[in-house]
Symmetry: C2
Subunit: 327 residues, 2 copies
């Protein structure tokens, strides 16, 4: 079976030049390209299976790194990415990290190995130590932005979004408002807490650290925490950082005999399907999830198609307060 | 930089033998292996990035093909696959097909391209025409079994499961029972319909084709169909093929002023989180989703690790009827 070396010999060029032709590199003159293609044809040279990546230097695959698929929130983001990718001739592969930065780093290696052309990190937790030596042109952050990874990003203004929802509770007459957020080492959670603080302070209410409850995004942990909070009745509302947390809060309020929203108002975040279907339906913040995915994919694909035109972008998309029955 | 050829020369063996050593093939004597490893070390030979796949002939990645991630049902299956894969040193990549057999076929090509070692098809629709020439040892079907793809599979007995839930409705005194299922070209949907038929007939009730409603798995389509069914009141129950369908049915019953479950009982399928959280909570069938994923991954990995020991398996795991408020 003829090798690249045989092709180079016959065409009277170097192996590197043959590679360039196989690579569709623009650094080869048309005349040389024709010589090489002729030699390839005459010899019946077939780049083998593994050389295929090398030849095209493209897999036409985009990796999407998610913390989990258990949260329905991500399905729309993925759909936006997928539709945009498919329109542009790319497939997408998803992976989940359970928010482990080590696992995220492992999967990011697929870029270097050329098994994927680039990656969209959608909310998955990353750490500075695992992000050295990454080609940031091939990565876009979506929903969440870790500033130490100097890539393009597409997300909402989480601080303003949480400000809006707390401000809405205050305008509805609520004064003793709890806040339930995830871990503050996640940038959006830190931002949301700051939004909560700002809304209180601008409305002349005092921010109290002890009114900030940290918990997981599911419903059970907040449910247990609130049910065991002997003094829940001294509060009249809670702003939650996920819709499932809001379900937990509503269940706890009901268990303690509090009427939602009159005695205890609850807001969620993300506008997942359940927030609309739940009874009472849940006041929440809608992120433009599909658009975030779409835009992130478009930025990445534009760069992959024309690496020379790369320009780092930070896109902030508008959020929307969905007022429903729970607040 | 030294090449495989240099290593072969120095060790006094053929290039193929070096490949076999790099491949961890068992066809090399221990003595030869040691010679090659010594040459590799002395020359400082490093298999290059692209040769890595070649060297190990393994990506240590498993592809999971899903119809969508919008249905929370799949999150647990994926978790079972992922935990098992990780324990065995494999990563997993997910892809979604929106139930297009063409897209599933495209992703299955990643096996042939050696970008993944094998695939688990979890409920994604496939078609016989796209499944020729697949290496069925590298594929396991989960949740759903298309018999034309002669691979191992792990799933529940869908016919028996639907039989059980309809039988339960009948034992509760229901006599005019609708059935809502997805498209019957999906084997499990066909099986469920047969379970519905069998339960009716064994209980002396007549099966009527017109009482079978075909619709998508979300809640809206069934909701609209039932709301516009002028004669819904002549029925006293519906057995649905997904929990979201059940939500649609409950909403329609409520909209028409029917009390659930007294006047109209509703059952779902899959036991997604919402079925427990919804009010009324939804009687449903729990598939052992995590175990299905776990078992499918284990069968696949066992084969990948010892291809010689391959034996096609059909594993039927037990389902469980979860009786709640809606029926």
């Amino acid at each position: 079976m003829p090798t690249v070396k045989d092709v180079a010999q016959r065409a009277g060029v170097s192996v590197a030049t043959v590679s360039r032709v196989l690579n569709n590199s623009e650094k080869v003159s048309e005349q040389t390209r024709q010589k090489v293609l002729k030699a390839i044809e005459e010899l019946g040279f077939k780049p083998n299976l593994l050389a295929r990546n090398f030849r095209k230097d493209k897999s036409n695959l985009i990796l999407v790194i998610l913390p989990t698929i258990a949260n329905a929130y991500f399905a729309r983001v993925v759909k936006g990415i997928e539709d945009t990718a498919r329109k542009n001739g790319y497939g997408i592969l998803l992976c989940t990290t359970q928010n482990s930065p080590e696992i995220a780093a492992e999967y990011l290696k697929l870029i270097e190995k050329k098994q994927v052309d680039g990656a969209i990190i959608a909310s998955a937790k990353i750490e500075i130590n695992f992000c050295k030596d990454l080609d940031t042109r091939r990565i876009v952050q979506a929903c969440e932005f870790y500033p130490f990874l100097d890539s393009s990003c597409v997300l909402i203004d989480h601080r303003k979004a949480f400000y809006d929802v707390v401000d809405y509770l205050i305008k509805k007459g609520k004064k003793n408002i709890l806040c339930a957020i995830g871990n503050e080492d996640i940038p959006s959670e830190f931002e949301r807490k700051e939004g909560y603080r700002k809304a209180l302070e601008e409305n002349g209410l005092q921010f109290r650290e002890e009114n900030v409850i940290r918990c997981s995004y599911g419903w059970t942990e907040l449910y247990e925490k609130l049910k065991n909070l002997c003094c829940l009745k001294k509060y009249d509302a809670i702003a939650c950082s996920s819709d499932l947390m809001a379900v937990g809060a509503i269940k706890a309020a009901k268990a303690l005999g509090l009427k939602v929203p009159d005695e205890f108002s609850v807001t969620g975040f993300d506008n997942i399907m359940m927030s609309r279907l739940y009874e009472p339906s849940i006041t929440t913040v809608a992120q433009p999830m599909y658009s975030i995915g779409e835009k992130a994919a478009q930025i990445l694909i534009d760069t992959l198609e024309s690496p020379g035109a790369f320009k780092k972008q930070k896109i902030i998309l508008p959020h929307e307060l969905k007022t429903r029955e729970s607040a």
